[in-house]
């Protein structure tokens, strides 16, 4: 095996150019010198999250909005699982999909890094306690999340973020088909799923009244603990 360096190969800079585009140019110099396939490259690839390229302002806004929606879904399905008041099939769905959505929360927080926002507080007002109302609401949220992600896929600046959103988008569509199947509705109603706007998502969330003011669990009073 011959040791090739990217520098030697990339005479016209085409590779570095594309690489910069993909990574925001933060590591171009390093990789010019790195030996391809060598240990140095291997080590270099174990990049800490802090070194990942910065998201554009537009991508941050998109991801933050997604994160809010994922927080809501994670909380709603987790609560339904905890209460255990829905039907066995819906309970199983809540368990699996709740875990997936909790995973999405962590994943999007990872993409945002410092720009990650905190979870809102929720009150699901009995929706997590009634099988019919829960499944209808879950269908609405899963369909809408998949639709939103299409719009965002077109809007994002970064192909890296696009790739990430795509890998979440198909999972939301799986969730949607599954809960529809449980609810007795056709899992795939159309040959093409349409995108939707952020405004429509906001409208749905507002209409549920799920988002509440946070309970005040922090205070500034003098502690009166025993000491």
């Amino acid at each position: 095996m011959s040791d090739l360096t990217l520098d030697a190969v990339d005479r016209s800079g085409a590779i570095a150019e594309a690489f910069d585009e993909l990574t925001g140019g933060t590591r171009a110099d390093f990789f010019r010198k790195a030996v391809i396939g060598g240990a140095a490259l291997t080590a270099a690839l174990e990049t800490p999250a802090a070194a990942q390229p910065r998201n554009t302002a537009k991508d941050v806004a998109i991801l933050q909005f997604d994160l809010g929606l994922e927080y809501l879904q994670a909380a709603m399905y987790s609560e339904a699982e905890r209460l255990g008041e829905v039907s066995p099939k819906t309970l199983e769905w809540s368990r699996v999909v709740g875990a997936n959505e909790r995973g999405h929360v962590e994943a999007i927080r990872g993409l945002l890094g410092r720009d990650a926002v905190k979870s809102p507080s929720f009150n699901f007002r009995g929706v997590t306690e009634d099988d019919r109302v829960f499944t209808e609401t879950a269908v609405a949220f899963e369909d809408l999340t998949a639709a939103l992600l299409k719009t965002q896929a077109v809007q994002v600046d970064s192909r890296r973020v696009l790739t990430a959103l795509a890998s979440l988008h198909s999972v939301e569509a799986r969730h949607a088909a599954w809960i529809r199947h449980i609810a007795g509705i056709v899992p795939a109603a159309d040959a093409f799923d349409q995108p939707t706007s952020k405004a429509r998502v906001v409208k749905l969330v507002d209409s549920t009244n799920f988002v509440t003011s946070a309970p005040r669990t922090r205070g500034r009073r003098q502690p009166g603990y025993t000491g």
């Binding site: 190969v9 396939g37 291997t42 696009l162 795509a166 569509a173 899992p187 799923d193």
Partner: protein
């Protein structure tokens, strides 16, 4: 710099460069390169590249369209499976039509021939086959969506969303977890081709 034969017009500048300078021969994997070395991701989206990608995705859709259409026509399935096959056939046909229309005169490949054996009539074979095909579609699309220009990104997302619904439905019918992972993997061209060959349906 480089002296390449065929397809030089289709390769990006970076790919041309690499082929020319490096020549043939494989790098020993340092744990980074998977078997069947990944191709260089230097290409930017372009209309011309869109056509190549859509052409490729069309191949994936042809397989599905033929599978469900065959199952629908043979009419050996019953109950919900029959409904599933019939509805999905209709939707895959729409996908094919959409991709063919997007390609227009640039479409170059034709529908391949397939042999589905009993997979389109025997329910015990049909469901796992449907799951397999839909998983291929979802991962193939996810693999190529980021390479497309924005208008085509939307087209592809509208289709893969429905393929993912199909896979969720089929997996539930199979008694399997419809969403076993929080994120779906994008597949490379080689992975998709290998998976398609593995179905045993390609002639």
């Amino acid at each position: 710099m480089s002296s390449l034969g065929e397809n030089s017009r289709d390769l990006t500048r970076g790919q041309l460069l690499v082929r020319g300078v490096v020549g043939t021969g494989a790098l020993a994997a340092g744990g980074i390169l998977v078997a069947g070395l990944p191709k260089l991701a230097v290409s930017r989206p372009s209309r011309e590249q869109d056509d190549r990608v859509l052409e490729w995705l069309l191949q994936v859709e042809y397989l599905q369209e033929a599978f469900y259409t065959d199952a629908d026509r043979r009419g050996a399935l019953d109950g919900e499976l029959r409904e599933f096959a019939s509805l999905v056939a209709e939707q895959e046909r729409a996908h094919v039509a959409e991709l063919e229309e997007a390609l227009g005169a640039n479409k170059s490949s034709k529908r391949p021939d397939f042999d589905f054996g009993d997979a389109t009539t025997n329910r015990d074979e049909f469901i796992p086959a449907a799951v397999e095909l839909e998983e291929i579609a979802v991962s193939a699309f996810n693999g190529k969506v980021p390479n497309l220009t924005k208008p085509r990104v939307l087209t592809a997302m509208k289709i893969v969303s429905v393929e993912a619904r199909h896979v969720g439905w089929a997996r539930d019918l199979a008694g399997r977890n419809p969403a076993p992972q929080p994120a779906d993997s994008p597949a490379t061209q080689d992975q998709t081709e290998a998976a398609m060959k593995n179905t045993g349906f390609m002639e």
